[in-house]
Structure formats: C-alpha cells, structure tokens
C-alpha cells in the first residue's frame, strides 16, 4: 500500500485537470472568482490561455460553458457547490442538461466541512439538486486517488457531469496500485453480512474506520463506497439489501434527496429493508472548525460506529 496522502479533493481535482489537459487540448476551465479556493488556479497557472475567470456571475459562467461545449470544447465550470448548483441551477438544467452538452460542473466546499464560513457556504443540497436533473451524472469521490480517477473518467465521458469537491484535507485510504474506478460502479471496501453501510464522499473513510473498529467486537459490517450517485449501482445495493437485510447510509449532505434517498429508491422497488440515515438531519450548519462540525453532526468514526452497534443490536 502506497503512503497515505493528506489532501483535499479540490486539490486532487485541480491537479487531475492539469494532467489531463496536457494531452486533451479541448479542456477549458471556467471559474467564478474562486479559482484559488476551488483549486482551478492550478490549471490557470499552467494553461492561462485555456482558463477564463467569469467573475462573480455563476449563471453566465454556466451559459458560456454550454456555448463552448456546443462549439466542441470540454468546459469545466467550477465554483462553490452552493453557488454552482444553487445559484446556477436553472442554467445547468436548461442550458447544459436538457441539450446534453458536454459540460463538467465542479462544486467545491461542499458539505458542512466547509467549516468556519458557516451555513451560507455549507452546501448540503447539491447532490439532491443535481440528481433530480435528467441527463446529469453525479460524482462524489472520497479521497485523493478516487478524485483523480473520477476526474479522468468525467472528462472522458461525453455528457453533463456534476462532481463534488471538498475543502478539508483528508487522508487517502485507497491504494493507487490496485484501485480501479468505473463510472456507476460502487466499491465494496469491507466484507460483512451483519449490516450494509453505504457511504459516499468525505465520510467514507470515517465509515471505514468504524467498520474496522467493530470487527474487533465481532460485528461484520459490509462497507460500500458509492462514488457515482447517479447513475447509482443498483446491483451492489440490491445484493447488499438481500444479504444483510439492513442498510445504513452515510453522507455529508442533507438526509433528504441525497445518497439515502438514492439507495432507498433502489431498495423500496426491489428488496425493501430498513434504512438508517446518517447525514445532516434536515438542518442548517454553522461556523466552526471542520472536524468539530463533522463530530457535532455525527459524521465521524465514533458516531458511525455507535449507529452500527445500535442497528445490529436491534
């Protein structure tokens, strides 16, 4: 196993774009005055002629990106998840998704781990918003290596993609030597039949630590990492529901409309089992250091472990 990389997925994303742009000359990048924060600045430094700062005007940025895609480019438009998917929702829906244009939308500073900026900047609805749009693929990678692979796959895929980026530096848990990424395919990180924990994004690592901790207590929890929230891997979810009979979802997002609902949509139609939803419980965040907030919201290892104990104990 390679050394652990401590890095925010926004940075992994910026690096990946740069690497891909070396050979793919069609990649152009847009930002809305947040390049230093979303890390598209890494691309900007290397390819200034293919980088366009649109200023604080997210709606126009998405429209311009759509026009660029219509002219054959592969535009990547980045902002904070809040503004990319919130402010520009309708531009994404009507100018990108409806005509199925090849635009990649990157939403950085997603979730409450945005931290000190507080509720106005902590987007907990982006997955729900993007998932509800036809033609839209939704990606939420969990560590450095997954983000790099997901970015590569998103660029190679011809169509609209939303990719969720985090602000907080997190340790990698995947092994780059063996890691394989496939759009739409979940990854089983830990085997077990007592319960299926299905997680996405930044909290996958917390869930992984939790299921490993519980192994010593004789609880065998299966852990599935869902990096592609749409289209979701139905097979891996149905199999988990059939074999474990109970599911816990873990996400740094509102429990309405995100991973929990995506999983629930699959199992209620195929193999109904009880789903316990770990996530932001339909409330706004507040200012504070990221890890303290994640802990307060029950999204860290000890809290996840407790929920698993409770569910298995029942």
């Amino acid at each position: 196993m390679a050394e652990t990389v401590l890095k925010a997925t926004r940075e992994s994303f910026g690096e990946a774009l740069c690497e891909l742009a070396e050979t793919n000359k069609d990649i152009v990048v847009f930002d809305a005055d947040l390049a230093a924060a979303t890390k598209t600045s890494i691309f900007q430094k290397k390819y200034p002629e293919r980088f366009f700062d649109c200023g604080i005007a997210e709606g126009n940025m998405i429209g311009v990106a759509a026009g660029m895609a219509a002219a054959g480019k592969i535009p990547v438009a980045a902002s904070f998840a809040m503004f990319a998917t919130g402010r520009a929702f309708e531009q994404i829906r009507n100018s990108v998704a409806y005509p199925e244009l090849n635009v990649k939308i990157a939403g950085s500073h997603a979730g409450i781990s945005t931290g000190e900026d507080g509720a106005t900047h902590q987007c907990i609805e982006d997955i729900a918003i993007m998932r509800a749009i036809p033609n839209m693929m939704v990606l939420n990678p969990a560590d450095h290596w997954e983000m790099k692979a997901a970015t590569k796959a998103a660029i190679a895929y011809d169509g609209p993609v939303y990719i969720r980026l985090g602000r907080l530096a997190i340790p990698s848990f995947n092994d780059p030597d063996t890691y394989e990424f496939e759009l739409g395919k979940g990854i089983t990180l830990h085997e077990g039949d007592d319960v299926a924990v299905i997680a996405t994004g930044l909290v996958v690592n917390e869930a992984l630590k939790a299921v490993r901790e519980l192994e010593t207590e004789g609880i065998n929890a299966r852990l599935i990492n869902i990096h592609t929230i749409k289209p979701i891997d139905r097979d891996i979810i149905i199999k988990a529901a059939r074999e474990t009979g109970r599911i816990i979802t873990v996400e740094e997002h509102n429990v309405i409309g995100g991973l929990a609902d995506a999983v629930s949509e699959v199992v209620t139609a195929t193999c109904p089992v009880k789903i316990t939803r770990i996530g932001v419980q339909d409330r706004f965040g507040y200012s504070g250091p990221a890890w303290e907030l994640l802990d307060n919201f029950g999204l860290t290892q000890p809290h996840i472990a407790n929920v698993i104990r409770r569910v298995v104990g029942n």
């Binding site: 429209g63 219509a70 002219a71 054959g72």
Partner: protein
C-alpha cells in the same frame, strides 16, 4: 442590395410570417406576436448574412445563431425550413407530441438550431461561449443572437454583456427585438429598461439603432458590425409586435395566444395580400 433583392427578402419574410401563423394555429398555442416582430431579422440573417449549410447543419465553421428569446421560434423554424434545413410540413406538427419542432428550440432534435433556449437570459451567455470558442480556435465564424426587450430585464443578460466586452468578442452580434411589449404589458410599464442604448454602451458594446423591419438598415448595421474591432455589437431594432397581421399589431394579448380558425384565415389572407403587393412591385 438592389430593389429585387429587397423584394425577395420581403417575400421570404412574408412566408416566414405565414409559417409562424400556420404553426401556432395548428399547435393551438405558441407565440405569434414576437415571431412576427423578429421575422425580418431572422430572414436577413439566414439569407444574406450568415455562413450556413443546410446540407451540413453541424458544419464546424458555420456562423452560429442563438435565439435567446426562444419562444419566438415559430418564424425561425419557418426561415430554417425556407433555407432548406427541413420540410415545411414540420410546421404543421409544431408543439405536437412526437414532433420535431418543440415549443422552444431544441438543438438535439432540430437541424439548424445551434442552441436549446427558452429560459430567458440564457441564450446570450451561450452565444458568448460560442464566440469565445471561435477566438480560442482562431476561427472566423461569427455568432448572432436575438433577445427580446422584455428579456433584458433578466440579470444574466448583463452578466453576459460584461463577459462579452471583457473578452472583446467582436465576433458577437446581439440583436434586441424592441417590440415594446411583454406578457404583462408595455415594457415601459412593467419595468424600466431604458435608456437601453446607453446601458449597452456602458457595458462596452458598439450600439446601433435601427428599424427592425427595414432590410437596408439591418444590412447596414450588420455590415458595420463586421468592421467593429475589439468589442461586441448590440443592434437595437425597433419593431412592431405582431407585424404583418393587422389585428395582432401592437397588441399585448397576442404575445402567447394562437389564432382561432377565423383569425387564422384572416391572418393568412392579409399575409397573402401583402405577398401579392410585394410581387406586384417586382413587375
């Protein structure tokens, strides 16, 4: 342009107007008012100004057109059909289930439509993106877009205007079809957009004001736009909403209502009469 060219254009625009009436009548819905006001601009663009190939609608080097006021597509569809992009009979199934011609332009389904539009304020941003792509690729294609004068109330129009001048998009021409009316009433009563010329000037545009039904003036403005360097051009075209159909002209109520059978017959009769008058002038 000599007088016979102008007469040809007038006949084509007359046919485009007829097409818009046929389409909205058969659809029992749609937007005849703005379709009629912008028909001359569409006609000139596709028959005199733009480099397009109906045999190869996706031609990389073609000039692009974005109908930012997407609801006025009935007359645009008619112009595209006259140009040879698709059969005239498609107009008969406009807005029907399974039809090629959607209520608002659909670039995936309709040959000749360069951008899907309909949500106001968005098309102009896409036009900026296309113009920027041309610059990036050192291509000489030009991009044209038509906005409504109600549409400029959308904030995105001004985000796009800032973007266009900041990036010196001199290959972009923004028409405003100033027919003076929007759904809820006269633009001057609904929201104050004037002085529109000074606004576009302040946003870094070369501004030209014309009569949007006068082909000589449309031509002069577009010829001037080709000579403008380092900035985009805005052509503010004064038009008459419902132009060509007496009972629709300057009537707020004809924004988004289709003619009934009697009104359809009357409208087609009036347009036929106008065509005969234009043809008479040819002799």
């Amino acid at each position: 342009m000599d007088s016979s060219e102008i007469k040809q254009l007038k006949l084509l625009a007359n046919k485009a107007r007829t097409g818009a009436i046929i389409g909205t009548y058969h659809a029992k819905s749609g937007h005849p008012g703005g379709s009629l006001s912008a028909a001359d601009i569409f006609t000139y663009l596709y028959f005199k100004e733009m480099r397009v190939d109906p045999e190869n609608p996706a031609w990389e080097d073609r000039d692009r057109f974005v109908l930012s006021k997407g609801h006025c597509c009935p007359s645009l569809y008619a112009v595209l059909s006259l140009k040879g992009f698709f059969d005239w009979d498609e107009l008969l199934s406009l807005r029907h289930v399974g039809a090629m011609l959607q209520g608002h332009p659909d670039m995936k389904g309709t040959p000749g439509i360069d951008m899907s539009t309909g949500s106001l304020g968005q098309g102009v941003s896409a036009a900026c993106g296309m113009a920027l792509a041309a610059k990036l690729d050192n291509k000489d294609y030009r991009v044209y877009t038509v906005l409504g004068d109600g549409e400029v109330e959308e904030g995105q129009v001004w985000e796009a205007a800032m973007f266009a001048s900041h990036h010196k998009l001199d290959n972009l021409v923004v028409f405003v079809d100033q027919n003076g009316l929007q759904i809820d009433g006269p633009v001057t009563e609904v929201a104050g957009i004037e002085p529109l010329d000074k606004k576009f000037e302040a946003f870094g545009f070369k501004v030209l004001k014309i009569d949007g039904h006068d082909f000589e003036q449309i031509k002069d403005a577009l010829d001037t736009a080709r000579t403008v360097k380092g900035m985009p051009t805005a052509i503010l075209a004064k038009t008459v909403k419902g132009k060509g159909v007496s009972f629709m002209e300057n009537q707020v109520g004809w924004h988004g209502v289709a003619p009934n059978k009697e009104q359809y017959a009357q409208a087609v009769f009036e347009l036929k009469k106008q065509a005969l008058e234009i043809k008479g002038g040819l002799d």
